[in-house]
């Protein structure tokens, strides 16, 4: 066939490099509704759910049983199930029906019913729902802070800059698993050097992550993964009960935690049991609620390449975020993983959470260039900071970030680098040279930094862990090295663990370390003239982008 130049041009567009696949329910490649999804039903006998979504109790798998016993309000369920799914969907977008009223109804419905409700909503209605249902009044944002070299100095500097830019949570992970403790302490120190009150975590293997938390190297945890089919749970040597136990372990030490789930994971692991991605993810969210977690990171997350490959996949992603909010969970709404070669497509995907606002719009905006992002690339990265700030300004939307001045960026990056250098020196860890701090201060990414001796770092990490170093030792090291204010900030973060208020739903801290959560700052949106509006000081902040034309210069 003689080729059309038009079609040839279109074929070369980035969007055509992405992977797409037709719906294939037998293998779980279906977004919102599979012919094999169960129909909603409930039967209660003597205060026990004996039938759930067409399955009798004796046929329950452990996920069904966990949901029936812990995630559905048995006293409300018969009344809630009597309300039609269409009516519930309409209430979600009706500005005259309060968040509280909807949450009460939803607390009694089953996963299959929830899926039915969400299927009635188009994306605009879902955004309307999210604007009203998210837990905290003000949206916020979370950053990924990583680099290809696992360089702790760069982590500290990027964390400081990220905090300065407005991120209220920062998450790191590792290329080399054994680096985790260094990454965690560098993130802890760097974040507070940028702006006080930022929460930090290190996403690694669960037992290691718990230990880092207990030692006070992190101030929250996020990577407790749950799955929608029993087989995937079992393959990971887990059950909903073991996750609930892990959650309790964190709670016993006063650490904020949230679970992680997301559509597509069961497909990717070949265990979707022919169900739709939304149905399986809804089961995850019920498990999360039943396990007593205050929140979830979801929205397909690392499996977005699968969900985005099927029709209505990106709609499904917002749908699952909304289910989380409807269950009263804090929702850190993904946007944290690259999934497309198309700038247009990636921006459109993020608008679904950016415009209504979620508790954390990104559960990892790459605070470094994407080549350094060890979550295999985020949907937005450090090179998009100005685009993002302009989007906030264009639409008068609070995306959780703000424009910054170059001199401030350099200052906080330098302070963070020097502070980590001092702590390493005080604790007798591997050396950080002045040249390294200097390089990192002015760097964009790890291509601009001086490589460290990895093998020596790993020996030092092992030694530090053996010596039983904790967060308190870091406070002491900072205080005795001339970083009193930073020491005070990290001590204040550790104190949160004793106070415990930041374990409430959707908590972040302000710069005075005061908690803002869904409890003391609840979302009160009920249509125009209500809820959170971008105005006052915050609007001035958003407006102040660089590169503004000065009329006096003409």
């Amino acid at each position: 066939m003689k080729r059309s130049k038009r079609i040839e041009t279109l074929d070369r567009r980035p969007v055509n490099k992405d992977g797409y696949i037709n719906e294939w329910p037998e293998m779980g490649f279906v977004a919102m509704s599979s012919p094999y999804d169960p129909k909603p039903s409930i039967k209660v006998e003597q205060g026990v759910i004996v039938e759930l979504d067409g399955k009798r109790r004796e046929d329950f798998d452990f996920i069904d049983e966990f949901i029936a016993d812990y995630a559905i309000r048995i006293d409300r369920t018969e009344k809630s199930m009597a309300v039609s799914s269409l009516d519930i969907a309409r209430k979600i977008v009706d500005i005259n029906v309060s968040r509280k009223e909807i949450l009460e109804i939803v607390s009694g419905i089953t996963p299959a019913k929830m899926v039915e409700v969400i299927n009635y909503l188009n994306v605009v209605e879902m955004m309307m729902g999210m604007q009203k249902i998210r837990a905290r009044r003000t949206p916020a944002n979370q950053a990924h802070i990583t680099n290809l070299k696992d360089d702790p100095v760069q982590i500290a500097a990027d964390a400081a800059e990220g905090a300065l830019r407005g991120f209220r949570e920062e998450e790191t992970t590792v290329g080399i698993a054994r680096y985790a403790p260094f990454n965690a302490i560098a993130l802890l120190i760097g974040s507070q050097a940028g702006r006080k009150g930022v929460l930090t975590q290190c996403a690694v293997e669960e037992a290691t992550e718990l230990e880092l938390g207990i030692r006070g190297f992190t101030t929250y945890a996020e990577t407790m993964s749950v799955y929608g089919t029993e087989k995937v749970f079992i393959d990971g040597d887990d059950t909903p009960y073991s996750k609930a136990f892990l959650n309790a372990a964190y709670a016993s030490r006063g650490l904020k935690t949230r679970f992680t789930s997301g559509s597509g994971s069961e497909v990717l692991m070949g265990q979707a049991e022919k169900k739709s991605m939304l149905y399986l993810e809804t089961r995850c969210l019920y498990v999360t609620k039943g396990a007593g977690s205050q929140g979830i990171q979801n929205g397909s997350v690392s499996c977005i390449g699968v969900t985005a490959s099927v029709p209505s996949g990106i709609r499904e992603v917002l749908g699952e975020n909304l289910v989380a909010a409807l269950l009263g969970l804090e929702c850190a709404s993904s946007n944290d993983q690259s999934f497309t070669n198309s700038d247009m497509r990636r921006t459109a995907r993020t608008m679904l959470q950016f415009l209504p606002g979620t508790d954390f719009i990104f559960s990892g905006y790459a605070g470094e260039p994407n080549y350094d992002n060890l979550f295999a690339g985020s949907n937005f990265d450090a090179e998009d900071f100005d685009d993002y700030n302009v989007l906030q300004r264009d639409m008068q939307v609070d995306g959780g970030l703000k424009p910054v001045k170059e001199e401030d960026v350099i200052r906080v990056r330098y302070t963070a680098g020097k502070a980590v250098q001092a702590v390493f020196r005080y604790l007798g860890l591997s050396e950080i040279t002045d040249e390294q701090v200097e390089a990192v201060t002015y760097a964009h990414g790890s291509k601009d930094t001086i490589s460290r001796d990895v093998a020596t770092d790993l020996v030092a990490v092992e030694d530090m862990m053996k010596r039983g170093i904790t967060g308190v030792d870091i406070v002491k090291a900072l205080a005795e090295s001339g970083f009193e204010e930073l020491a005070e900030s990290i001590l204040s973060m550790l104190k949160q663990r004793v106070v415990g208020d930041y374990m409430q739903t959707s908590a972040i801290l302000d710069e005075e370390f005061k908690v803002m959560s869904g409890v003391n700052c609840p979302n009160d949106y009920m249509g125009p003239g209500t809820g959170y509006r971008v105005d006052g000081k915050r609007w001035e902040e958003i407006k102040a982008i660089p590169h503004i034309i000065d009329p006096n210069k003409f």
């Binding site: 490099k17 992405d18 992977g19 797409y20 696949i21 037998e26 293998m27 012919p35 094999y36 290809l148 070299k149 696992d150 290329g175 080399i176 698993a177 054994r178 690694v204 293997e205 669960e206 037992a207 290691t208 087989k231 393959d235 990971g236 040597d237 597509g264 497909v267 990717l268 692991m269 070949g270 265990q271 979707a272 049991e273 022919k274 690392s302 499996c303 977005i304 390449g305 699968v306 490959s309 993983q337 690259s338 999934f339 497309t340 070669n341 994407n370 080549y371 350094d372 992002n373 060890l374 295999a376 690339g377 985020s378 990265d381 990895v454 093998a455 790993l458 020996v459």
Partner: protein, 218 residues
């Protein structure tokens, strides 16, 4: 990129052909389990000798996935699995250690595969290697989802990296101070490869056989 699309199409077509050969999806009732449903013809390893616990302290066991060199013969970016395994083994040998390949049938998860290999290994060091090319260096006393070195982005792997994995695994056996292989990262890997990864992993998972945990492999 064109080649990648062709791989998707080819894999999809093969899987669909197999479904049709089995009487099509309409033939399956709604309640039927999907796991191990025989969508691909499942290879039986009944009668194969179960892999032995190693005693040689110089040994590095390489645990390959259930579909390795049988249902799947090339990694996600087209490297022949024969070449891949040859390079891993060569890397181990270059450091004076002894490689042994086992096929892990009880799981298709790379970390659990690597841990099984490490436990079977006389030295306690093992390598997990999925058929799509994802690899891990594991040690028998680590948590399953922890590792010594992980290579999560299979599309970025080449034969030199596989050789280096063999070498580093051998160096861990010798108790040397090992510099981990420098990480690689392509932020577009998910957009370009995740659907393919899912299809290949489905194929691998279909070959999981809980009745025979692992067998000796070549």
């Amino acid at each position: 990129m064109k080649i990648n699309e062709e791989i998707i199409e080819r894999v999809t077509r093969l899987v669909i052909e197999e479904i049709n050969a089995k009487g099509g999806v309409q033939g399956l009732s709604a309640g039927e389990q999907t796991t191990g449903n025989g969508r691909t013809v499942k290879t039986s390893y009944a009668g194969f000798p179960i892999a032995k616990q190693g005693t040689n302290p110089k040994e590095v066991v390489i645990g390959v996935g259930p579909a390795f060199q049988r249902e799947i013969n090339k990694t996600i970016n087209g490297l022949s699995l024969e070449d891949v395994i040859k390079n891993v083994k060569a890397g181990v040998e270059e450091e004076g250690m002894v490689p042994r390949v086992v096929k892990v049938l009880k799981t298709s998860d790379v970390c659990f595969m690597g841990l099984e290999a490490a436990k079977l290994s006389g030295s306690g060091i093992g390598i997990g290697l999925q058929s799509k090319g994802t690899a891990v260096i594991h040690q028998k006393d680590l948590y399953p989802l922890s590792n010594l070195e992980l290579f999560p982005q299979a599309p970025l792997m080449n034969l030199e990296t596989y050789r280096a994995i063999g070498k580093n695994a051998a160096k861990y056996v010798k108790g040397e101070k090992v510099t981990p292989i420098e990480g690689q990262n392509d932020p577009m890997v998910r957009a370009n490869y995740q659907v393919k990864a899912a299809l290949m992993h489905i194929k691998e998972t279909e070959q999981v056989d809980l009745s025979i945990p692992y067998i000796e492999w070549k």
